[in-house]
């Protein structure tokens, strides 16, 4: 069981509920967008836009499932549009890249390494077993403490802490053994 969004408040335009939706789905959506746009850096832009559109239509949703479907649909459509216009954009991007400081610049290189590593680790949460995945998402995405998760899942804190530990170890193992990056 995950923490549910209060759909009534959401439909009434409650920004706190909207923020909860973002907490819960942002990372998954961005990773989804990244599947379309490997290195071009447009995935965050597209993900942001999907949430802006969601908020502008907040009155239309009756269930969290509908919210989720809507977000994925927007990201898919925007991604496809983006891919279609990417060719024309390539020249523009190349020029933009030329004006950026070199990635060799130590602090930029470090930021980039750091971001890549944590992205790779978090992305693999999706590959964990269902129970473990739920707990890790509740903890990292929704920011719930071990106690809160235990209460929501009607289990003890030790079990949650264990799952978190094993989940992280599994992520690390998958990350280390992936030689593609």
């Amino acid at each position: 069981m995950e923490k549910m969004i209060d759909m009534e408040a959401f439909c009434n335009g409650d920004k706190n509920e909207f923020r909860k939706v973002m907490d819960k789905y942002y990372m998954d959506l961005r990773f989804y967008a990244e599947k379309f746009h490997k290195n071009s850096g447009v995935a965050p832009e597209i993900t942001n836009e999907s949430f802006i559109r969601l908020f502008n239509k907040h009155k239309d949703f009756v269930s969290e499932q509908a919210v989720k479907s809507f977000l994925y649909k927007v990201v898919t459509n925007l991604s496809i549009n983006e891919l279609q216009t990417q060719k024309a954009r390539k020249t523009r991007e190349r020029n933009y890249c030329l004006s950026l400081p070199s990635i060799e610049e130590p602090s930029i290189l470090f930021d980039s390494i750091q971001k890549d590593m944590w992205t790779e680790l978090v992305k693999r949460i999706e590959e964990l077993s269902d129970g473990c995945k739920t707990i890790l998402k509740m903890h990292y995405y929704e920011g719930l403490s071990i106690d809160e998760i235990a209460r929501l899942l009607d289990t003890n804190t030790r079990n949650v802490a264990n799952q978190l530990y094993y989940g992280r170890q599994k992520l690390l193992k998958m990350f280390l053994n992936d030689t593609s990056s």
């Binding site: 993900t47 908020f55 920011g143 990350f175 030689t179 990056s181």
Partner: protein, 429 residues
């Protein structure tokens, strides 16, 4: 340029796996020695607490950055909000046909009634600008009544989230619109003990069974769950209403759903599945009982009469109908089953998104439908209700008065009045 980044990540991985060569190790040492931050990064991957903190920080920072951008756009007009209003129409349509001649004329035309919805141009005035009161719309609430095996009833929407009680061998837990059944260590020899769950008019509810099977209940739906089995609930009776079942595969036990008996000869349909998703529509007052298979395989057995014991015996020997994905079985009033192939399954379960669909529905059936979705009573001040058939959809935000107006527009001889305080529709002569 990117190579250097990948190279360092590669070296870090090799170091942590203990597969680094002396030359590579020296190279990594140089990089680590460059900066305190670099050393910390390696430490974060080897210390569980630091890893936990860093992952939290990383996700927070990503969402926070996005939130800054998104929030800024919510207060200003986004491209979507700045669009002309006519592009964000909500619509309902009802297609009607009175007599055969009229059907021929209008059968290819659909009447669309566009209800323009005001778009929020400023998020601060959202509530005030919402033209639809949820009370008057068909947007489902989550209200349900649970009856335990000892006869006690609980209104689930009135109680706080958390553990409710134990019944049979299960622990019952409520969270928002979900009722969870969890297995316990309790041993019980009681047989045929049931929990009943029914949604109120205008309400949906969801049940999650041990093992992860889910039952989604539509408005005014009642189900009986057999809570006497040892480790799982595998027998459900749908007394009246509509529900979608997502059954987790189980190689040993099959999952059974018993449908209400048909009126004419008491024949009952028992649906037996292993792991699949299907929708059952079987309102007590509706002659047509439909089963639509959304995923997997399914068998429907027809039995001469229903008794609780039947749910535990083998179905072998009873007439069976097998469905394939996209098939819809219609259990007719005479107990016979007819099957339609390749039905629009998304349409079948559109009720989950609050969409009310109807196809050639008689006036009386329409009124029942409205009564269930809008939670209103229908009163008749006349014995003569027009014989009219409606086809169409109602989107969730459509208010009840609009539905009444369109029905009256379609059927000249239908006169209705809606009283919002008494929540009552009067059908007038």
């Amino acid at each position: 340029m990117l190579d250097k980044k990948h190279h360092i990540i590669h070296l870090i991985k090799k170091r942590l796996l203990g597969k680094i060569s002396p030359g590579e190790d020296a190279e990594l040492q140089d990089w680590l020695a460059e900066n305190e931050e670099h050393r910390k990064l390696l430490e974060q991957l080897t210390n569980d607490d630091l890893m936990d903190k860093q992952m939290t920080l990383f996700v927070r920072s990503q969402v926070e950055d996005a939130w800054m951008v998104v929030q800024k756009n919510l207060n200003t007009k986004s491209p979507e909000a700045a669009r002309p209003r006519h592009q964000t129409k909500k619509y309902i349509y009802i297609l009607g046909a009175t007599a055969a001649a009229f059907i021929i004329i209008v059968s290819f035309s659909i009447w669309y009634f566009f209800v323009t919805k005001q778009n929020n141009e400023d998020s601060r005035s959202i509530v005030e600008m919402n033209p639809y009161s949820r009370h008057e719309s068909a947007i489902p609430a989550y209200k349900a009544k649970l009856t335990l095996s000892n006869g006690n009833t609980i209104l689930l929407h009135t109680i706080k989230d958390g553990t409710i009680t134990t019944d049979g061998v299960f622990k019952l837990l409520k969270h928002n619109e979900y009722l969870y059944y969890k297995t316990t260590a309790i041993v019980s020899t009681d047989r045929n003990i049931y929990n009943s769950l029914s949604t109120l008019n205008g309400s949906h509810f969801r049940v999650i069974l041990p093992g992860g099977s889910i039952i989604n209940l539509n408005v005014a739906t009642a189900v009986k769950l057999d809570v006497s089995s040892i480790s799982a609930i595998r027998n459900v009776e749908i007394t009246s209403g509509e529900a979608e079942f997502s059954v987790t595969p189980d190689s040993k036990d099959s999952f059974r759903v018993t449908m209400p008996a048909v009126q004419q000869n008491g024949i009952t349909g028992i649906i037996e599945v292993k792991g699949t998703r299907f929708n059952v529509k079987a309102y007590e007052d509706d002659n047509e009982k439909r089963v639509t298979l959304l995923e997997g395989n399914l068998d429907i057995y027809t039995l001469p009469a229903y008794s609780p014991e039947l749910t535990n015996v083998s179905m072998a020997g009873y007439p069976a109908t097998s469905l394939k994905r996209g098939d819809q079985a219609l259990l007719q009033d005479d107990g016979k089953i007819s099957v339609r192939h390749n039905v629009d399954t998304a349409e079948v379960v559109s009720w989950k998104n609050g969409i009310v669909s109807f196809n050639k529905s008689h006036t009386l059936k329409m009124l029942k439908l409205i009564s269930r979705w809008y939670d209103v009573n229908v009163e008749f001040s006349t014995t003569k209700v027009p014989e009219f058939y409606f086809t169409g959809k109602i989107t969730p935000e459509t208010d009840i008065q609009t539905v009444i107006d369109i029905m009256q527009f379609q059927c000249d001889s239908l006169h209705m009045k809606y009283d919002s305080t008494a929540r009552k529709i009067s059908v007038l002569p």
